[in-house]
């Protein structure tokens, strides 16, 4: 589980979107899990396969509000289904079983039949993580997933991410504004500043001098070291 930190505008979101294949860079090559996602400003021809192995969640939960939670989670299986099933929503039995298992992993089984728009922000984020489980993602990209949540909900989402990383063996890259979350959950931290890597190493090595180099001198008032 890797934390990605840095001031706003330093390129954290852009980097994550490039890895996920949601954005295309002008030049250079992106490889994920050994597969080329994009190279020299073009998406790879078979980027669907790489995208299916990569899952992404955002600051704003992006479940489909009018569908119930179970259907939202089942959408993770779309890419593995024959197209007539994907288009009619005739979820196979194994997908239904996956959905139930994933929802109980994120402790939302009791909310399965509720519309996503009725869930709290934290519940929606955990629902999005359940969707990644059904998708069988191997890499989870989380773009400031807890920035809009209250401290308790934020803790539960971070705990869920840590569980996916520890128990399910998923690689997690999470961009964070709060250094405390990085310290608590992520052994390794990469810091961006002005679109270049300013630090890459153990999170314990992030002392005040390094943070000042990344965020500027005002960080000393913002963080209790």
């Amino acid at each position: 589980m890797v934390a990605l930190i840095g001031p706003s505008g330093s390129g954290k979101s852009t980097l994550l979107k490039l890895i996920a294949g949601l954005d295309v860079a002008d030049s250079g090559e992106v490889r994920v899990l050994g597969e080329v996602v994009q190279a020299a400003g073009r998406r790879a021809a078979r980027d669907g396969a790489a995208r299916a192995r990569t899952g992404m969640i955002f600051q704003k939960p992006n479940l489909v509000g009018r569908l119930d939670l179970a259907a939202n989670v089942a959408l993770g299986a779309l890419q593995s289904m024959p197209s007539w099933r994907a288009l009619t929503g005739a979820w196979p039995l194994n997908v239904r079983a996956d959905v139930t298992a994933a929802l109980s992993r994120v402790e939302l089984l009791d909310k399965a039949s509720q519309r996503a728009s009725r869930l709290s922000g934290g519940e929606q984020q955990r629902g999005a993580l359940a969707r990644l489980l059904v998708q069988r993602a191997e890499l989870v990209l989380a773009d400031e997933p807890v920035a809009a949540l209250d401290p308790v909900s934020a803790r539960r989402v971070m705990d869920t991410l840590a569980m996916l990383n520890g128990r399910d063996g998923l690689t997690v890259i999470v961009s964070l504004h709060q250094i405390e979350h990085a310290r608590r959950y992520c052994p390794r931290t990469i810091a961006l500043s002005g679109a270049v890597i300013a630090y890459d190493g153990p999170t314990t090595g992030l002392d005040m001098a390094r943070l000042t180099a990344i965020y500027g001198p005002e960080i000393q008032e913002a963080v209790i070291a």
Binding site: L22, R51, T54, M56, F58, L63, V64, R66, L75
Partner: protein
Amino acid sequence: MVDILVWGGIALALIVGFRGAEIGRAGELISGAGNMASLAREFTRPDFADFPLYARQMWLTVQMAIWGSALAVIFAAPLGLAAARNLTPLWLQQPARRLLDILRSVPDLVTGALFVAAIGLGPLAGVLALALNTGGVLGKLFAEAVEAVDPGPVEGVRATGASPLAVALWGVIPQVAPLWISYFLYRFESNARAATVLSLIGAGGIGQPLFDAINSFAFGQASAIVLMIVVTVTAIDLASQWIRARLI
């Protein structure tokens, strides 16, 4: 600057159109008020002698509107998705938009006449004409609804690696469904009126006895028919309000 151009343009359009639209003759409304009053008096005595015929024809018109609107959705749903700026590449979006423009701008009286030539007189020609025209209107409205969706859920579905069609179906359709249904109901209601006019080209329906009545100066009968149209359209409006309130 832009304000002056816009308001100046509107003023210019009104001045240019003044003569063509014969607005100068508006004064004759007052001098002709007597004639209008005597005609209106005829309309206050609706003649329901032929009620069974009117009811049959009204029902036929509603049936035409039902099928015309339903067939229209078959064109409008895929074209509306294809024409949405936030969903499709230019090579698909532009032809879809142009096709919708054509469907919308050709009057249904013309398409109706074409269908009458092909399959003869009768309601089906009217239904097909309504379907094409309504398809063009609904397609544009559908596309605008799609352009206004929240991109987050769409990106979320796309990020699972789903195919573009599956993304549209699961990320977009649930978001636009209430609006699409609302637009559909509104067009269905206006089609019940438009289908009346289509009787002119021999499509049948309530328009037929209406024009017969007006042409033979049987204003009592015309009045009865107009009342039935008003009641029917109002009933459809109430029904669609009820449906809308339950769907959104």
